[in-house]
């Protein structure tokens, strides 16, 4: 709580200073903002979270997780003897605003690094700006854009595995256990195309095939009319939806198919921040989901998972302690936590003291090859690829049993690997 309060106060103070500055804007231009920029004694991290807009339910949990991790770091003496201050800005889940916030972090707050962006369109817009501003930018997004080589040397994804790996590692299990004829249902934008393209290739490699592609626009609120496109010979429906309409989707699918339909395999992205044990989702009973980190504490729960839940304030069913309706975004938010510890590790490796050592810090990050499962990396051990700036970790497949998610298979890291598509280390800073 302490850090949280402190964080709030400092940001508010910063904002008040800024308000004053805005007032002085025309009157006494020379005075403005100078007091804000100082460095050396503390490490400032910019955290652009989706506090409002379509990513808001993720943003709230990202912030709560980040607060817990920063508090932990500071209690343990900070990084290289310096305390960490996190400055949060709302980007409204809007690419244009994301870019502006990045500029604000760089030019006004003079932060050491920026972390925590999730939605891929915000990341795509902001990453280019981060490169121009020479600002280390750690994303918690799953986007394959980074490992595909479309971003730049300043961007890293040290914790969450990208969509391509997730999908590749799911395909063998799906084709062996659920069936080979797959209908894909996905949102009609970049995130959905990542799923479509990678899964199409991955299932073909398993001897399976895609029998139908159903792309649904992100603004859609009613789905029944798309469902007749599901061919009768479908073995598996592979679904990944985002946004508030997900429950509707599941319910309409249930109404439409009845009990005799094909098997279902979904991505947890669909159900983040939503209870799985509600009547509206009863149709999902017995179906399967990808999870990056199991929302329900499993029988073989690690002490690290326990520690993580306790510090962030999440109970064994993945909801906020004391409010079972306030469900977290458990399959994504761990990445904020782990990313902070990855940054800490890189800063310690390079003996980071201030912004003029940014390059050394990034090179240290690139030199890291793995993270061990620990309190710092509660999701599991990871392989980090310094060339593609992307982490690879275990993925889970869970079955819905009485409304709860039970892990039935945990992939190896090898199953998530694919050939490098870029070598960022050859690019200049």
């Amino acid at each position: 709580m302490d850090t949280k309060r402190k964080g709030l106060i400092t940001t508010r103070r910063g904002a008040l200073r800024g308000m004053g500055a805005a007032g002085l804007l025309l009157a006494a231009p020379g005075l403005v903002g100078r007091a804000v920029a100082q460095s050396g004694d503390i490490i400032r991290l910019g955290a652009p979270f989706h506090r409002t807009g379509i990513g808001a339910s993720y943003g709230r949990w990202y912030e709560q997780t980040a607060n817990a991790a920063v508090k932990l770091i500071n209690e343990a003496g900070g990084i290289n003897g310096m305390q960490v201050e996190m400055i949060v800005e709302d980007d409204g889940t809007d690419p244009a605003r994301g870019v502006q916030v990045m500029e604000k972090f760089s030019a006004e707050h003079k932060v050491d690094a920026v972390f925590g962006h999730l939605f891929s369109h915000v990341v795509a817009a902001t990453a280019a700006r981060a490169g121009e501003l020479k600002m280390p930018y750690f994303i918690c997004s799953e986007a394959h854009t980074l490992a595909a080589g479309a971003l730049n040397r300043y961007v890293f994804q040290p914790s969450i595995t990208d969509v391509k790996s997730q999908v590749i590692s799911m395909a063998p299990w799906i084709s062996q256990n659920l069936g080979k004829k797959v209908t894909l249902i996905y949102p009609d934008f970049a995130f959905g195309y990542d799923h479509r393209d990678n899964f199409t290739a991955a299932i073909a490699a398993q001897g399976g095939s895609i029998v139908a592609n159903i792309a649904i626009p992100p603004t859609e609120t009613s789905f029944t009319r798309y469902l007749p496109q599901i061919p009768a010979d479908t073995d598996v429906i592979y679904h990944v939806m985002v946004g508030p309409a997900v429950l509707t989707f599941v319910k309409e699918l249930g109404d439409y198919l009845g009990s005799s339909g094909p098997k279902l395999f979904g991505f947890m992205d669909s159900l983040e921040a939503v209870r799985t044990d509600i009547e509206a989702l009863s149709f999902l009973e017995g179906s399967y989901f990808w999870e990056a980190m199991p929302r329900y504490a499993q029988a073989n729960q690690t002490e690290f998972d326990k520690f993580f839940r306790e510090k962030v304030g999440v109970d064994a069913s993945g909801a906020a302690v004391g409010d079972e309706n306030d469900v977290s975004t458990y399959s994504h938010m761990f990445s904020v936590w782990e990313t902070l510890f990855a940054m800490k590790q890189a800063m310690e490796l390079s003996g980071y003291k201030g912004p003029d050592q940014k390059q050394a810090m990034l090179e240290a990050m690139e030199s890291i090859t793995s993270f061990a499962e620990s309190n710092e990396f509660p999701q599991g051990d990871k392989v980090f690829n310094g060339k593609t700036h992307q982490s690879f970790g275990h993925q889970n497949i869970s079955k819905v049993v009485s409304g709860k998610l039970e892990v039935v298979y945990r992939t190896t890291i090898e199953e998530t690997l694919y050939e490098d598509e870029v070598d960022y280390t050859t690019m200049s800073f």
């Binding site: 500055a21 903002g33 400055i87 854009t145």
Partner: protein, 319 residues
């Protein structure tokens, strides 16, 4: 006694001088914010020409902004057109688009006009998403580093440099401000206002009001396109959110806050609202509530906007 329009011209020049000098005294973040403010003020000035002076309220100006943005950005991205030429291409494209839309939309009036412009804009937005293999869809496109600088009159201008950006935005802003001054203070400006105040009387006086509105619409759309092209080329990113409904509302808000039908109102409104959002978003998610309250307060007690009120009370020349 100085003539009112001369006074206004002097004020404009003074504002330009202050804007030019601010870059030497302001910290870098504010220079960046001011760059953005000038670009969006251009957008709002274009909007003001149609809404404030001619009395036509469009809810779809994001489409012209987006046409400027995408035409110039895509020309640079795919054809490698030098920035200066992409910029001109963007302007030409938005002029063409606004001419086409003007022909259609001006067949309607008042509320239908608002909805028609809104819907055309929605079509533009959806088209950007639909043709994502060209436009980059919701993720947009980032201009490659090699297209971020260009040679101009023997200088190499690098768009990643703050000072270059600021001064390019400043030059274009100054040009648009002086252009709108010339238009609104000239005989054509009086015709625009005549259409706004009483269209049928203007028509009876023998003027073809359709042509007047057409010219105003095209000018307004093209200036919005200038802002879009400038925004894309300066910041090197083109994205679909430039075409969504919110981006059509922004120039409307900026213009109304600053004072519709005043020359400098759009600048005042844009600056005030941009700084406010920027400052507030740092410490509270409630910044949109504050903005909501400001909008209501404005309509209750400052219905003519800031400069509009100043004009009516103290300075009649401030038109």
């Amino acid at each position: 006694m100085m003539s009112p329009s001369k006074k206004l011209l002097l004020l404009c020049l003074a504002v330009l001088a202050v804007l030019f000098l601010l870059q030497f005294v302001m910290p870098s973040y504010f220079v960046l914010t001011l760059t953005r403010i000038m670009i969006f003020a251009i957008f709002a000035m274009g909007y003001n020409l149609l809404m404030g002076y001619t009395g036509l309220l469009s809810l779809g100006h994001a489409m012209f902004f987006a046409v400027g943005l995408y035409a110039s950005g895509l020309a640079s991205y795919y054809w490698g057109l030098p920035l200066f030429w992409s910029f001109l291409f963007g302007i030409a494209a938005s002029a063409a688009a606004s001419t086409l839309i003007a022909f259609l939309a001006l067949k309607t009036q008042t509320v239908a006009f608002m909805i028609v412009t809104l819907m055309f804009s929605q079509v533009a937005y959806l088209s950007i998403l639909q043709f994502s293999h060209v436009t980059g869809g919701d993720q947009g496109l980032t201009l490659p580093p090699e297209s971020r600088s260009f040679g101009f009159l023997g200088m190499t201008l690098d768009m990643t440099s703050e000072a270059t950006r600021y001064n390019i935005a400043f030059v274009v802003f100054a040009a648009v401000l002086l252009l709108t001054y010339a238009v609104t203070k000239g005989p054509f400006g009086r015709l625009l206002i005549a259409v706004r105040e009483n269209e049928s009387r203007t028509e009876m006086l023998g003027f073809n009001t359709y042509v007047i509105k057409l010219v105003a619409f095209v000018l307004s759309g093209t200036i919005s396109g200038v802002a879009g092209a400038l925004n894309g080329l300066i910041f090197g990113y083109i994205g679909s959110s430039s075409a969504d409904f919110g981006n059509s509302i922004e120039p409307l808000l900026f213009t109304l806050v600053g004072g519709a039908g005043t020359l400098l109102g759009p600048l005042v409104g844009t600056a005030l609202m941009t700084l406010l959002i920027d400052r507030l978003s740092g410490f509270t998610t409630a910044y949109l509530i504050v903005i909501g309250i400001i909008l209501i307060v404005m309509t209750l007690w400052l219905p003519k906007g800031i400069l509009g009120t100043v004009r009516d009370r103290w300075a009649k020349w401030l038109n």
